[in-house]
Symmetry: C2
Subunit: 481 residues, 2 copies
């Protein structure tokens, strides 16, 4: 123990490994599980996830975003009062003396805290990390208590809708790059929604609850929604019908123009602002050439009183004759919007930093890709080893070690079996099992001739390569892999 | 709110963003900090860390390792009884109903839990992730309560010292690749150390405490160590001197041979085993050609009763005329060893899975690299943007958006200023500030001529490129960057 404490003191954060384990303190076998709603990621999952995250990050970087990292732990008071009723889902740490801590619930509140704390008024950043929710998720459907969020946000005071349009473009690029099938990006603006409710004579006190009903329109028919409005939310049938005339609308520029001419709506200041910006957004998205997959949808509400302007949500569309996905798996895979008020909540002087962002549902997308891989029976390699250094006869361990050391030092990804005298068959089998494409076989004769026998696992083709050319040959043969 | 709950239920892990923020529940300005011992990583730090991690991961993959991920949360009982006195440094979560949880203290115990839980008897894995310790770290010296660990481990029953030798080779490769200056890898074996103490007549009950004293030999002279042994640990001066004759020794194969001939030590079974394996290790390291930086050092102990065999630790050596590092910053940057008992602690039947691993001190190395960067005044780019799409005159926003959209779709990393009519000077200044190497300038004349003016920020050279050749030109000019 003492050693390690000394170590810590003298060596800053030198690698610290576990200490003094005495068999007396065996862990109970009962501990052999991960906490509820959490999971280990075995190599195959990490490999697939890396592929997914790689595609997403490439897009974020293509748009000039920088990465930041914030602690998993936040002060309890930083998170409290940010998530409404959901605050009860926040993991709190035991009071072990000192500050009261909690695990982050998402990446957006820490981002706002980071901006206010560092007085940053202008940044384009992405952040991919785990967040924590004491939920009761259906892990069978890929939902967990510890899960990754993948956020891209643009903070700063800019000309209208330019960052907003880029966020929508990013969603379009990522979903296209990932080839998840057909998708639709619904857009709306909370100011338009508020305007609609206002001109339909709904008291502001009923906005939120009414919107949560409207929000169901993507799952249930209007009649159901109307009944809930009248029956549960206490709206008059006439008011409900007036709302219905609006929220069942969806379209593009034409619809925006039509609503800008709407005698009632055009009189509402908020709605007019929202429609003006929506028009601008569509003009920009037209220049990006992506309006084909954009739908201005007045029923889209999202987390309403969190957003202050444009909101959007990408959904995958059910495909005909697609046996990979079942209906359940079709749903929202990205969403976001403008939130100009959050950062100001952390600034002592309440200084606002306008923000717009998008969250890519990588857990959702990950489980879709997992289904795809299973269906396609594609075997994902969990390692990148290019060549196994094998021996044809016994007593060649030294030669194997000399050769593999040369390969490592040349940057070749290489493995050997950790056996003094492995059977050639076992060595070849290992390549089959792990997908290693090449085997460099050292044998007595080859050593005499100054060559190495290079075997292509897939074709079983074998060629003798002069030792001095081996590295080049391996590079050449694996460059496409 | 309802919307989001519905969403969660119906859409699996669709992106979930913060909810209902009402200005009434403003966070206190006092919350504007990260928890004690934690920190945000701004873009420049993340960029430098990515560079470092990239080098380390490249080495792990070169050696055929796969990546796994485990939850930050573990069952309390999984961690308890694994860290001796340090268990008091474990962060525990509040009992909010359900399981008692804690934050992982390192990556090794979760790894052992993972192996036992999944009955994995054979894996080569790396894991780079944050761990948590309720320590009182000197954050001024780069130590934190939330920090990254970077572990590579080989689990499985193999022929002696082959995986062990590869771990040492990996440390050698990583420290060489990172160009941290001269370094030394000390190796020892806990069986040799136990043997030494036994033949010096030390009762087993005093092994641990004596070792923690011996361990100080790398910081203080022998006299100090001897005094502590005699004064504090109650050893006889003679016994202390006998120990001194051994633990002050360090060397290579020659020393191993000498100790194998040692009349006393050669009679001790444990010591003999350890020396035999140490000889084998040196033979393998000789084949790897790295013995020049290896020292068999009998004073190296590390977390003694955790390790069961070979142990090693890499230290940076103080360099002459090196103004970058101060003496304090010289120390251990990697360490590890063989631990054959840990996995068995989790297996109900106590089945053992021999393991050997190494932990790279990336926090330590990161702070060294940070010092280097500061000293060198190298400006680290936080983004990878290749080109800024700029305009020479007003009213060219549409053209800028059309062009940048083409570039994004072609995979070019491009940005624009989010202004309708930005001044050319401001656009050029933005490139200077963020290190963007190229500017694609659209102007009225260029549009007429079907060209784009490409400006090299560094040289201020400007060339007109035909629009259809622009993407190729940008790729060509940024391929080396």
């Amino acid at each position: 123990m003492l050693r390690l404490r000394l170590a810590a003191a003298a060596w800053c954060s030198a690698p610290r490994r576990p200490l003094s384990v005495s068999p007396r303190r065996l862990a109970a076998g009962s501990a052999l599980k991960t906490p509820k709603g959490t999971r280990d990621h075995p190599p195959a999952q990490v490999a697939l996830r890396d592929r997914l995250v790689g595609t997403v990050v490439a897009c974020f970087k293509r748009h000039g975003a920088a990465a930041i990292d914030t602690p998993v732990l936040e002060l309890r008071e930083t998170l409290m009062g940010k998530y409404g009723d959901n605050s009860k889902l926040i993991y709190e740490l035991q009071d072990q003396g000192g500050e009261l801590l909690a695990l982050r619930y998402d990446l957006t509140v820490p981002f706002a805290r980071y901006l206010a704390m560092n007085k940053i008024t202008n940044i384009k950043r992405y952040h991919i990390a785990k967040v924590y929710r004491r939920d009761n998720p259906a892990t069978t459907r890929g939902r967990y208590r510890e899960f990754y969020q993948c956020d891209f946000d643009i903070a700063g005071q800019f000309d209208p809708m330019l960052p907003d349009a880029e966020c929508v473009k990013i969603v379009h690029e990522i979903l296209s790059d990932l080839q998840l099938g057909d998708f639709l990006i619904k857009v709306n603006d909370r100011r338009i929604l508020n305007g609609v409710l206002a001109v339909c004579g709904i008291p502001e006190s009923k906005f939120i609850t009414t919107c949560s009903t409207i929000d169901k329109l993507d799952k249930v028919p209007w009649e159901y929604v109307k009944n809930e409005m009248v029956g549960e939310k206490g709206l008059s049938p006439e008011a409900a019908d007036r709302i219905g005339e609006y929220v069942q609308l969806h379209g593009g520029l034409d619809l925006i123009e039509q609503l800008l001419q709407d005698p009632k709506l055009s009189q509402n200041k908020l709605a007019k602002e929202g429609l003006g910006d929506m028009k601008l957004l569509f003009e920009y998205l037209t220049l990006f050439g992506i309006t084909g997959k954009i739908s201005f949808d007045l029923s889209l509400a999202r987390g309403l009183d969190y957003y202050t302007g444009v909101i959007y949500e990408a959904v995958l569309l059910q495909q005909q004759n697609d046996h990979v996905e079942d209906p359940v798996s079709v749903g929202s895979v990205a969403g976001g919007g403008r939130y100009d008020g959050l950062v100001g909540m952390f600034d002592p002087k309440g200084r606002k930093v306008p923000c717009v962002g998008v969250s890519i549902g990588i857990e959702r997308i990950f489980s879709i890709l997992e289904q795809r891989v299973e269906a396609s029976e594609e075997k994902i390699r969990t390692t990148e080893t290019q060549v196994l250094v094998a021996s044809a006869q016994k007593k060649l361990l030294e030669e194997r070690l000399k050769l593999i050391s040369e390969l490592w030092d040349a940057g070749i990804k290489a493995e050997i079996l950790y056996k003094k005298n492995p059977k050639l068959l076992n060595q070849l089998q290992y390549c089959e099992d792990t997908g290693i494409p090449l085997v460099a076989i050292v044998g007595e004769q080859e050593l005499k001739d100054g060559v190495v026998k290079l075997r292509v696992v897939a074709t079983r083709e074998e060629v003798n390569i002069r030792r001095e050319n081996l590295i080049e040959e391996i590079r050449m043969r694996t460059s496409q892999l």
